[in-house]
Symmetry: C2
Subunit: 199 residues, 2 copies
């Protein structure tokens, strides 16, 4: 126990961060207070500003400090292709890894009736409105292949088919650099079922 | 790239934390903004309060929000034994692991002339004043066994000997649960030189 109550409080506050246990929280606290108070004050400011200003884009439900986010607002994006993801971080991952030029829709979760998460909580009414509005021609599902994710993907896919849009899903299979020996059986059976003709 | 500038700024601000790379910073940012804004605001408050209030104990140089820290101020501590450590976190470690009942002195670093860190920067003048004041009878050195730490320990030890105090140093050797096969040669030779008679 450190004698300082403020130091203890800061250590406890760091525990809200994902992956930060007591040891890391202690290290972060002492490092900032001893060596980087400027960084600590920048972090506090960035937190307060983000909490106050960052909300949800009214179009894609991603994180944004403006009513419509920069991506949805960009004139260079292809408005006929819509990629549906679970989380705002997925948008960033796809932007960094691919050359996808369409727009996104962020569900902010997946269907989970037991937890009270139904279509309304995922904004599926808004997504359906976009499907029938006529601008979107193609839907790409990039929802995680968990049990609940599969259910969500099926639900969104049937909505898209009803609106007569073409629907595809990103491939799930053996990761690059992966070894069949270490891949779980679910992934392997998925990879087999989703095999592609070699041309 | 996320479209939101505030989100980006928060990710960058998280990088000031030790052990936090781009991936962790991203995860922290999205987790807090999506799921734990209350924790984020508590963290911001704790940071600002700690920066504003936590300074240095005038007696032991540990982190404290009062002029004299709770440990130095406690009447239950043995004022005749003084343990010299490098960092405020070392105080916490010793308090948690041992039943040491004396007081501490925190150097906040180690002698490193090339970096401009001399005796004055470590508060050794203040430490010497405590050595000669008469209250302290025994000095325990818990300075890390690095090259600069060794030099610092020797310097403090000679100061203590001049004031006719008994000086000891915590044992450095093979850690509990350690295996000789994986211990570095420096530690092993240290452990050999510091062997204790079995009684």
């Amino acid at each position: 126990m450190s004698g300082s109550r403020r130091v203890q409080q800061l250590m406890e506050a760091f525990r809200c961060l994902p992956g930060v246990g007591p040891k890391s929280a202690q290290r972060m606290t002492y490092t900032l207070l001893q060596r980087d108070r400027e960084g600590a004050s920048r972090l506090a400011d960035a937190l307060l500003t983000a909490i106050a200003e960052v909300g949800e884009c009214q179009q894609c439900r991603s994180l944004s400090e403006t009513a419509i986010c920069a991506l949805c607002d960009s004139e260079r994006r292809d408005r006929s292709v819509l990629c549906v993801v679970e989380n705002p971080s997925d948008v960033q991952m796809i932007e960094e890894a691919t050359d996808f030029q369409g727009l996104y829709f962020v569900l902010q979760g997946r269907l989970s009736p037991l937890d009270g998460i139904g279509p309304a909580e995922l904004g599926l009414d808004r997504l359906e409105a976009r499907f029938v509005a006529g601008e979107v021609q193609e839907v790409i599902l990039a929802i995680n292949p968990t049990v609940e994710g599969e259910a969500t993907a099926h639900y969104v896919a049937s909505m898209a088919r009803e609106a007569q849009l073409s629907v595809s899903r990103i491939a799930h299979g053996v990761p690059l650099g992966g070894d069949l020996e270490f891949v779980d059986s679910g992934t392997l059976s998925h990879a087999f079922a989703g095999r592609m003709p070699l041309v």
